[in-house]
């Protein structure tokens, strides 16, 4: 442990603002990106599941090609 007290840790020898905003912004961006990725995954899954439910009725096909 380098620091003697919590307040000293927070102050960072007068550079607290810079250190903590650097880490704060970084955390915000990185976590935000993670959250977006997870939410996107959920959305795609939901969409596919909705479609699967809809398609549970027997599907008829769109082909009527003239086959030789």
């Amino acid at each position: 442990m380098y620091f003697d007290s919590v307040s000293e840790f927070v102050a960072m020898g007068g550079h607290g603002f810079f250190v903590w905003s650097a880490y704060g912004i970084s955390a915000l961006l990185i976590i935000g990106n993670m959250v977006l990725a997870v939410r996107q995954q959920g959305r795609v899954r939901q969409e596919i599941q909705r479609r699967l439910r809809r398609d549970q009725r027997p599907a008829h096909n769109a082909v009527e090609g003239e086959v030789e």
Binding site: H15, L29, N33, M34, A37, V38, V44, R45
Partner: protein, 252 residues
Amino acid sequence: MWKTLTRWYHQLSSPRYFYRFASAVLPWLMPIAVLVLLTGLVWGLVFAPVERYQGNSYRIIFIHVPASSGALMGYIAMGVAGLIALVWRLKMAEVMLKAMAPFGAVLATVSLATGALWGKPTWGTYWQWDARMTSMLILLFLYLGIIALQSAIRDPRQAARAASLLAVVGVINVVIVKYSVEWLNTLHQGATLKLVGESSINDAMKWPLLISMLGLWLLYAANVLMRARTEVLNRERRSGWVATLLAPGAKE
């Protein structure tokens, strides 16, 4: 050995196996990445000694350097994926490329933000047109260009191919930019950075730095896997295996 490698290659280039692989790895990778990153950061923030000339502001290094190098490596990796996608039309390369762009852009932003916040106490300004800062800014622009192009094209396969071409062209450009900007820059700020150059960096600072770097890269890998997995699902939504996987009531 070679055989195992080629088998892996074929398996991972099949969307279905990739999905299984990613689903198996992610539950481990994610917590490990977070743990490693936190270890490095806490070590660096709480336990590492103060730096002689910069005081405690130097502690920004533990996020700044991992993010900067991650942004750079990430872009090169994207270019490689793009080349593979263009030449061999490998679907998984397209998927990976698309998955790599967002975190890369985030890392470039983090690098710029932390660098700026570090610059104020050390150089007395948030921003200067120093070579590294300038080329990182351009790298961010390139990332954003790729994201913009991808989101402008509707068809996911077409979007990925377009982004591949742009990424490959971009890598060539990054190399030239690096040299050109270094040449341009007459007020090289290198001297300040040398404080932490190889000779003077001590182990008490080096280890936490290396550990947070490892942690951030693992996190990057986890994020890419996660996004790639989503993209695979989205592209293969019509195939049988996705249907059984996500069928109502099915257990994964």
